[in-house]
């Protein structure tokens, strides 16, 4: 099994420095791209490879790039490439792995991508807490500059590129690509309306592409080995490998690079070691806190965009969170909705004022104060805050776990109401 993304990464292994990375075959792809390939060839290659965005939405990367206006004249409006390293989706810890494990891989990906897009400045937008990642990336950038891999006239290709690491200050919504752009401009991170898409008017109104860390890390390998190879890595239609992760009450929580389409059961049982003793799996969020619950009946699904989508959830970030039988599903949803309510940017009404209401009701449930009418209010919110109804995908994401929990764990909600207490914690209702 090939693991191109994590080939240089291992437990306890320090990240490779420039020399070591080169020795391991690094920067060959960049060399090839910048000196032997034209923009449009690389673009075509990515389209052929069917690389889809690893940030959660799964949008085809080649298609996204194709919306960027291409210039004949270098003097036209600047363009930007922005790497989304915000990784604040609850339960997600894959980009950290890539940045802490092999920073040069990301830098190489950026060089090729920026060259393809004719962007001469790239920003890595990284969440504030990932200080180690930021330090390692800065170190890698310094090494590259010294070796002529960044700066002006990279590898004598006449292509110039600066990469800057921009550390954020903690807000989940910064991961939403247009909010990210506002944040990068030093503004409040409220999302922007689309259209216009960032590819046309993004950072400071310039054409801008935003991609996830993992997405970009794939690029050098595709350039090196080609589209057919990339597709062959996968078990299903969606190409490549994917970093999958598992957290919760499993024996061996962690993240692994596996073929796209690896079955859920295999990931949980073979890699995460199965459930801890005394715990049973009741459900799981397949790709982070904003995806819909799936249950035992879905364990044989292939983990890829299409199959998980068909089952009514999303592949999301591919990092699963397991709900076990000793954890209150209502409490888990309350925890998630607390997160989403608190992380709402406050721009649009349904999200700003709806999520706190949802959280309030769920808290009441946990305290045995839920009422039967509340079920209707919760259901109403799952529609009200659905896709298209809010300004960005934050609130619809928040409704994923709620909507599916109401479907799969309805009896648990009702049990809270009828017993006026939480069956797991035993907290009884006392009216305030």
């Amino acid at each position: 099994m090939e693991t191109p993304l994590t080939q240089n990464i291992g437990p306890g292994k320090l990240p490779l420095n420039l020399q070591e990375y080169r020795a391991a075959g690094g920067y060959r792809a960049a060399h090839k791209a910048l000196l032997e390939m034209e923009s449009k060839d690389i673009l075509q290659l990515l389209q052929d490879a069917n690389l889809r965005g690893r940030g959660g939405a799964g949008f085809p990367t080649g298609m996204k790039w194709s919306f960027v206006p291409m210039y004949k004249d270098r003097e036209e409006r600047p363009k930007y490439l922005v790497i989304n390293a915000d990784e604040m989706e609850p339960g997600t810890f894959k980009d950290r792995l890539l940045m802490e494990g092999d920073p040069h891989q990301l830098i190489e990906g950026i060089i090729i991508s920026a060259y393809t897009l004719q962007a001469e400045v790239a920003y890595i937008f990284i969440r504030g807490e990932y200080q180690r990642s930021a330090d390692l990336l800065n170190q890698a950038i310094t090494e590259c500059k010294a070796q002529g891999l960044l700066g002006t006239n990279i590898m004598h290709s006449r292509f110039n590129l600066d990469i800057f690491v921009h550390t954020s200050a903690g807000r989940y919504i910064c991961g939403e690509e247009t909010a990210l752009l506002n944040s990068l401009e030093g503004k409040r991170a409220t999302p922007r309306a689309k259209p216009p898409f960032p590819q046309v008017s993004g950072l400071w109104g310039r054409p801008t592409v935003v991609n996830n860390v993992e997405t970009i890390c794939n690029v050098p390998h595709i350039v090196n080995k080609g589209a057919a190879w990339y597709k062959s890595l996968s078990l299903t239609e969606d190409a490549g490998t994917k970093i999958f992760g598992v957290s919760g009450r499993v024996r061996n929580p962690g993240a692994w690079e596996l073929p796209m389409g690896t079955p859920v059961r295999e990931i949980i049982e073979n890699y995460a070691g199965g459930m801890q003793d005394g715990y049973k799996l009741r459900g799981f969020l397949p790709g982070g806190g904003s995806t819909n619950f799936l249950t035992q009946e879905h364990l044989d699904l292939h983990m890829d965009y299409t199959s998980i989508g068909k089952a009514g959830s999303r592949l999301g970030t591919g990092t699963m969170i397991i709900l076990d039988d000793k954890t209150c599903p209502v409490g888990m949803v309350r925890n998630l909705e607390h997160f989403f309510a608190q992380e709402s940017c406050g721009w649009c009404t349904p999200c700003r004022d709806g999520l706190p209401w949802v959280e309030h009701i769920l808290t009441e449930f946990e305290h045995g104060r839920g009422e039967i009418e509340d079920m209707e209010v919760l259901t109403r919110h799952t529609h009200l805050l659905g896709p298209g109804n809010t300004f960005c995908a934050h609130a619809p994401g928040a409704m994923g776990p709620l909507e599916s929990a109401l479907r799969y764990f309805r009896e648990d909600f009702e049990a809270h109401i009828h017993s006026k207490s939480c069956p797991w914690t035993g907290i009884r209702g006392s009216h305030k």
Binding site: E87, E185, S247, R249, P253, M332
Partner: protein, 159 residues
């Protein structure tokens, strides 16, 4: 321009360097606030005014940014800042119990600072270390697989 006295030369140098990375100096606002925070622990009204002037913003514009983000402290914090993850994986793995222990040992609630000014306890969202839950940050350093013994040891180390 008036001389900015509320900021040290080091702060000004670092902020100015950051600002040079962008088309507009304002883009360095968050990093500037973090630089001030690095030196002073938190961001006072005076600092907001000084940074604003440096970045060609008004204090209100900068404060709109400063108050938006979680990791910018607009109120004084203790010598050590403990941020316990309260998001879903850590919650499943028992962060509420860990939180109770912390509150107990420190004698403060979330959002408070100990009377001796040593510790501030804050909740924080998912740290991207869910496979090592429950986790917390102590002065920015990640502490994983928390349980009662580990917390006792960590607190003792910090004193």
């Amino acid at each position: 321009m008036e001389k900015i006295t509320a900021l040290s030369a080091d702060e000004i140098a670092e902020i100015t360097a950051e600002a040079s990375h962008y088309e507009q100096p304002q883009a360095a606002s968050i990093e500037a606030l973090k630089i001030v925070q690095k030196y002073r622990g938190w961001v006072s009204d005076e600092s907001v005014k000084a940074v604003a002037q440096l970045l060609n913003m008004s204090p209100a514009e900068l404060d709109g940014v400063a108050t938006f983000y979680n990791l910018i402290f607009r109120r004084p914090v203790g010598k050590h800042v403990i941020m316990l993850c309260d998001s879903v994986s850590c919650w499943i793995m028992g962060c509420e119990g860990v939180g109770a222990q912390l509150r107990n040992k420190l004698g403060i609630e979330f959002g408070e600072t100990t009377a001796d000014g040593q510790f501030t306890l804050l909740p924080v969202t998912c740290q991207g270390a869910c496979d090592r839950a429950p986790v917390m940050l102590v002065d920015g350093e990640l502490e994983t697989h928390l349980d009662e013994d580990k917390i006792t040891a960590i607190l003792a180390n910090q004193k």
